[in-house]
């Protein structure tokens, strides 16, 4: 069985950039998936499941990032992460069991 690789380019829109809270949300979301997930920015590649690694990008507002997942649930992982970025890291009301209040 060949490994599925899914990529998508996203843009960070928050004026604060990819700071600690968004980095945590990315890592937390990525950890729900079995796939290997990486973020790529200008040739730099980091593990999306590590807050520390995500922060090393120092991605400011308007930065373009490529999300790349490799594994059985790659499509779902990319969908969830792209959605998180598109929502500007605001909580998704439809997945409210995570952290209410």
């Amino acid at each position: 069985m060949s490994t599925l690789v899914v990529q998508r380019t996203v843009t960070i829109t928050s004026p604060n950039g990819l700071h600690a809270r968004p980095a945590e949300l990315i890592a937390r979301t990525a950890m729900r998936y079995e796939s290997e997930i990486e973020l790529l920015q200008e040739g730099v590649r980091v593990d999306a499941k590590s807050i520390l690694h995500v922060l090393t990008l120092g991605a400011a507002q308007d930065s373009e990032l490529v999300l790349e997942a490799r594994g059985p649930d790659a499509e779902h992982a990319i969908e969830a992460l792209a959605d998180l970025v598109a929502r500007d890291f605001e909580p998704d009301e439809s997945l409210s069991q995570d952290r209410s209040g």
């Binding site: 700071h19 950890m31 520390l52």
Partner: protein, 158 residues
Amino acid sequence: MKFVDFVARDAIRTSIEVEEKEQVIRHMASALLEAGKIAEDECESIIEAILKREELGSTGIGRGVAVPHTKHPSVNELVGAVAVSDAGVDFDSLDGEKVHLLFMLVSPPDRPGDHLRALENISRQLRDDTFCSFLKQSKNADDVWQLLEEADNNQFVS
């Protein structure tokens, strides 16, 4: 942004005795106060803002490192304190590990870029195992400062 650009040399504390999250944050804020980096009448407000930020999600970023922080209108520039805990602090980090290295950041609300660059620098440097373990073993502020300077001079990053 380099460590020496935002870490206050007089706000470095090693072998801290406190092991509880709020106490550590209070201890580090006191260090910033003693270093003259924050105002006495703003200290409590800064502590409360940092604690409130922690409620949103832990700033434990993994590898035994935490970056408790807040924006605060009382500071004119980004100021930082460093603490080293031998026993480790329970910080609810995502990776479940206790925290041994803490970088506290207080930044002016209108300078998100500086804050982001400080986080970038901290995380990039601490990705290096040698630097990370040397810092954790530091026994006094001078040792920490020297390591930060060496990191600034790219002696750890390959």
